[in-house]
């Protein structure tokens, strides 16, 4: 996509003057950025730059631990079944973290399937949303597993424990688990850092396919990965958003010297 082309995709989420604190330590500093619907946005930056911290704000994971505080706004333009769009401040105290986690799924760094059957892993999110009928569950579990390019490998062993799968398969199972609930956004937190190159390329292909269906935010250490899979790239450093632009622009013609230095591997 040339830089000049205007992106007509509507905004799915927006971060405005957003900060996050671990106790008194400010891990995310006054970040503002738009996130387009059905686009893949990569967040890159050196370790400790706050990229994972920012990602985990979207589904309020920080609420699980004491002493964490959000400031500013993080808006999800939430689409109702009737098509109307309603802005929702994710980090507002009156917003239920459970509602945000119902709308925004997450795939973690290390594959973390439940020590349950393959079927139950994918079905769990649906069960939480009150899907009880066996036939509906099976249908949606199959759809999710197909969506995660795992169906052919596991269709004959759905009742078996998920721990019998390889690392790459486990991670795709986690993606299926995240997709089964038809989320509005999926957060990927360095999803391939624990995987070998072949499993990694499968996950990347998968992310590429998913962009047509869902808004994706991916944190990655791997700059080639960001360049390969994302439409937009945000570069963070020491808690601040240094640069945010189309991926092609960020990688070919970065606007800030710091971005250029990081991308060319001079630090980080």
């Amino acid at each position: 996509m040339p830089d000049t082309q205007i992106d007509t995709r509507p905004l799915k989420a927006e971060v405005k003057n957003f900060s996050f604190f671990y106790g008194s330590f400010q891990a995310v500093k006054n970040v503002s950025a738009p996130f387009r619907e059905k686009a893949v946005t990569a967040i890159i930056g050196p370790s400790g730059c706050g990229k994972t911290t920012l990602l985990r704000c979207f589904n309020r994971m920080h609420d699980l631990y004491p002493g964490n505080r959000y400031a500013g706004e993080m808006i999800l333009h939430s689409r109702s079944p009737d098509g109307s769009v309603r802005p929702l401040n994710i980090v507002h105290p009156s917003t239920s973290p459970i509602e945000m986690r119902m709308r925004i799924s997450m795939v973690f760094q290390k594959p973390n399937p439940f020590p349950k059957s393959i079927f139950e892993n994918v079905a769990y999110g649906l069960r939480l949303r009150g899907v009880g009928s066996r036939s509906e569950l099976s249908g949606r579990v199959e759809t999710a597993l197909r969506g995660a390019a795992l169906w052919d490998e596991v269709k004959d062993r759905l009742p078996q424990n998920a721990y019998g799968l390889s690392g790459g398969q486990q991670q795709r199972l986690c993606i299926a688990r995240a997709l089964a609930v038809e989320p509005e956004m999926v957060l990927f937190d360095e999803p391939t850092s624990a995987l070998d190159p072949i499993a990694t390329s499968k996950i990347e292909e998968l992310i590429d396919d998913l962009r047509e269906r869902v808004t994706i935010l991916i944190v990655t250490h791997n700059m080639q990965q960001a360049a390969r899979v994302s439409d937009y790239t945000a570069f963070m450093y020491l808690g601040e958003l240094v640069e945010y632009d189309r991926t092609a622009k960020v990688f070919q013609n970065p606007g800030k010297p710091l971005t250029e230095q990081y991308i060319s591997g001079r630090f980080g």
Binding site: N59, M61, L64, P66, I98, E99, R101, M102, S105, M106, F108, K110, N112, P113, F114, P115, Y124, G125, L128, R129, Y163, C174, R177, A178, V181
Partner: protein, 320 residues
């Protein structure tokens, strides 16, 4: 300065001395235990038969049995288990998953750790004061049914429940702590509430660890004597607690929970009673005591074996 060879040789010598010392001490400990066991078996094994298990105590040693004692032990354990397990597991789950870390929960934590080390007779005294005397002061005149708490199976069961509660709580917390945090995050990220995470994930994944702790706690409780003597468990019981819906001699039907307020004895007390009696060759209570000791040990060993088997199986099944 020593040569490298000398240094190595000296190190090897010390290694060897230490391992010999370790083996010797281990053999010594196991040996003493083995001698005690063999002695107990030689004295009591021949006494164990169906009659011994199914007769009440008697003044004639050869006619006496442990019927009321093992039934008492079983019923007291039932009460202990039914109260200590739900309470202990719930408290463990609360402290580990719900309670915020502050000075109050830290205080509770320190106290629980200390309670696990309190001598058991202290629990007996507490139960005597609280469940027997105070209970009568508070409720004694009002209703007959509760006034019967007294020296009963329910009092004994609750006393031992107090005793093992800290062990159950600590075991529950350790089992929960062994579950990696990313398991919790996976469930929360799907939109689970705290209770759903506990019910659907944490409790199922920690069942092995919790049951191991519970069994070890119960096997400790079953051997306890002091607290039950303190609350006044009898040493000579020649009847069983009334079965639910059975009839008394006067023809009255007994309620389903009447057995709870029945007087009782337990195996270790029966054993203690026999040991402390004067024995002669033709009326040898020491043999009975040895036989009861073997039974008690078999029960404890069986429980511990079950705990070890569960632990091994869980370890094989779940690797995070």
């Amino acid at each position: 300065m020593l040569s490298t060879e000398q240094v190595i040789r000296r190190g090897q010598m010390r290694d060897r001395v230490f391992s010999i010392l370790g083996v010797a001490l281990t053999i010594l400990c196991l040996g003493v235990l083995a001698i005690l066991l063999v002695n107990l078996c030689r004295e009591g094994l021949a006494r164990i038969d169906w009659q011994f298990l199914t007769t009440f105590p008697s003044r004639r040693a050869a006619k006496a049995g442990i019927f009321s004692a093992w039934v008492g032990s079983a019923l007291v354990m039932l009460v202990t288990g039914l109260t200590a397990i739900p309470l202990g597991v719930a408290a463990g789950v609360y402290l580990e998953e719900y309670g915020r870390r502050n000075w109050f929960t830290s205080l509770i934590e320190i106290n629980i750790a200390n309670l696990a080390g309190v001598p058991s007779i202290i629990y007996g005294l507490m139960a005597l004061g609280l469940l027997i005397y105070k209970w009568e002061d508070w409720f004694g005149d009002k209703t007959d049914s509760i006034a019967g708490l007294g020296q009963s199976i329910i009092t004994g069961g609750l006393t031992l429940a107090f005793l093992i509660l800290p062990i159950v709580i600590v075991a529950t917390r350790e089992a929960l702590r062994a579950i990696p945090q990313h398991m919790r995050e996976a469930a929360y990220a799907l939109g689970a509430s705290r209770w759903q995470v506990v019910k659907d994930h944490l409790l199922p994944y920690s069942t092995g660890g919790i049951s191991t702790g519970v069994i070890i706690a119960l096997s400790r409780a079953i051997g306890e004597t002091a607290p039950l003597v303190t609350i006044g468990a009898l040493t000579y019981i020649a009847f069983l607690p009334p079965a639910p819906f059975s009839h008394t001699e006067s023809g009255q039907m007994v309620g389903p929970f009447a057995w709870l307020s029945s007087p009782f004895t337990v195996l270790p007390i029966q054993m203690f009673n026999w040991v402390s009696r004067p024995s002669s060759d033709d009326n040898n209570f020491a043999v009975n005591a040895a036989a009861a000791g073997i039974i008690l040990m078999l029960v404890t060993l069986t429980m511990n074996t079950v705990a070890i088997v569960i632990r091994a199986r869980v370890r094989k099944k779940v690797k995070w």
